[in-house]
């Protein structure tokens, strides 16, 4: 093994090589300020926020499991309506995040050169029949009151059928459509471009990204650091952020923390590209910049099964055609299923482990909509810069009974 020692000494003299050099065994372990496990939208937005704020050496691991790729399988809405009906803190949090989307996207595009395809022309949720229209109206009233109590506006209103029809001049409404709940301050993005842009900007600012890397153990050390055992060797960091979606459950169980998340499947239908005629997204139907219609509004409890079912495709297609009859003429090109990370109350989890306060956990649904608060408020919290008052309300412990 003498020759290996010679090489080893050579490498330690060349820091640029050493940065790339990881080994499991001897004392050659990289020193890192913050490790983020999970390179999806939540992990990437937080990691980007931390490198932008001078958080030191930040390293991100992404397992790239083929089955758990929600950051690619989602609908791409930047949306707050009507989130948080039973939780004003979450309503405020969603609204705050969405408000900042245009500036968030602009900065990201400037920094990365990626166009994330943000369309910021509003968003609607259509109603079928009078009963649903009235129920939506009640919901708007209730949410407006909830938000007013915490000093926040709730820029949502009901559109009757005629007004809704006038706002989507390129499409014909189905006969049963009674109107819609609408906000001008919503939109949608291309989630693939968003993910690429954030990971690229993160690395451009000195962040280190390790794709295809699995973490097998998190070991808190007596000296206040955390050691990670990975498929690329061992790493040691001052702080750890666990944002690995459903993978977080396994990682945290070993530390005695039961994460309160469960899988929920959603399915999507993708059509051929046609002329761009729908200028803002509806919750169930959106048209992308390249002319594709995406259709989806399903929720099923099917554990981690991502298969596409005839029943869901059928009911979603029917629902979309009831909204816009013209969609019936389009070719359906693809469909896929993806697994949401849901919590019992639908709000996210942001947890600092009481036993290991340098380990942070980020989990939950709506990472696309919440990306601006992940980038700012969550990274400020992890860096001990500024703690948003809402964060304590999103603890994992709130579900402990």
């Amino acid at each position: 093994m003498a020759s290996e020692n010679v090489n080893h000494n050579l490498l330690t003299e060349h820091l640029s090589y050493r940065d790339l050099f990881e080994t499991d065994g001897d004392n050659q372990v990289e020193k890192i300020d913050i490790i983020v496990i999970g390179g999806g939208i939540a992990g990437a937005a937080t990691a980007l926020g931390m490198v932008r704020r001078g958080g030191g050496k930040v390293v991100m691991f992404d397992e790239q499991l083929p089955s758990q790729r929600l950051s690619r399988g989602n609908f791409g809405l930047t949306w707050f309506m009507p989130k948080g009906a039973n939780n004003p803190t979450y309503a405020l949090w969603s609204r705050m995040a969405t408000m900042h989307w245009p500036e968030f996207a602009a900065k990201l595009e400037e920094e990365s050169g990626y166009d994330v395809e943000l369309e910021w022309n509003g968003g609607a949720m259509h109603a079928i029949g009078e009963e649903q229209f009235n129920a939506y109206g009640e919901s708007v009233k209730k949410m407006t009151d909830v938000c007013r109590e915490v000093g926040l506006d709730y820029p949502v209103r009901m559109l009757d059928r005629d007004e809704f029809a006038a706002m989507v001049p390129g499409m014909r409404l189905g006969d049963e459509v009674s109107g819609a709940m609408y906000s001008a301050e919503q939109g949608h993005v291309n989630p693939l471009c968003l993910l690429g842009a954030m990971r690229y900007a993160f690395q451009k600012r000195g962040g280190v990204y390790h794709g295809g890397t699995s973490v097998s153990a998190i070991t808190p050390k007596g000296n206040g650091t955390i050691e990670l055992t990975t498929s690329k060797g061992k790493f040691v960091a001052e702080k750890l952020v666990v944002a690995a979606g459903h993978g977080s459950t396994r990682l945290l169980a070993e530390l005695g923390e039961q994460l309160h998340i469960y899988p929920q499947r959603g399915q999507l239908i993708v059509t051929e590209r046609v002329k761009k005629v729908l200028n803002f997204p509806i919750l169930a139907v959106r048209q992308t910049m390249d002319g594709t219609f995406m259709i989806g509004l399903s929720t099923e409890d099917t554990a981690h099964d991502v298969q596409v079912t005839v029943e869901a495709m059928n009911s979603q297609a029917k629902g979309a055609i009831r909204l816009f009859p013209e969609l019936a003429d389009l070719n359906w090109v693809r469909g896929w299923g993806a697994i949401r990370v849901m919590t019992p109350d639908g709000s996210p989890i942001y947890e600092q482990l009481s036993e290991h306060p340098n380990i942070y956990v980020l989990a939950g649904h709506s990472a696309v909509s919440l990306a601006p608060v992940m980038e700012k408020q969550i990274s400020d919290w992890i860096l001990d810069r500024d703690i948003a008052p809402q964060i304590s309300q999103f603890s994992n412990g709130r579900f402990n009974v």
């Binding site: 051929e272 590209r273 002329k275 761009k276 910049m289 002319g291 389009l330 070719n331």
Partner: protein
């Protein structure tokens, strides 16, 4: 442009963009049109630029055209006698 296998003997008359034209048979619509030099399949609805078949295996959707009244993938549809095809492309864009 393309050399045909001499084994292809079937010939069909189809109506392409309003004109009656002869094409080889026993193949997909996309292949038959390529064989007679009609290389443009459609105009992209968003980019407004001409498109040609890219994958020839049903994935890319660049060969969508109106075949017998329905938008179909030309590479996934077998050509037959009397087929009516509308590519909806601009004059002079579709090849010779």
């Amino acid at each position: 442009m393309f050399n045909q296998e001499s084994t292809v003997t079937a010939k069909f008359e189809i109506v392409l963009d309003g004109e009656t034209i002869a094409v080889p048979g026993d193949m997909s619509v996309a292949a038959a049109l390529l064989a007679i030099g009609k290389i443009t399949t459609r105009t992209s609805p968003t980019a407004k630029e001409p498109r040609s078949p890219h994958c020839l295996m049903g994935i890319c959707f660049e060969c969508l055209m109106e075949i017998d009244g329905v938008q179909r993938q030309a590479c996934m549809t077998e050509v037959h006698e009397g087929m009516v095809i509308n590519r909806g492309i601009k004059e002079g864009e579709g090849g010779k």
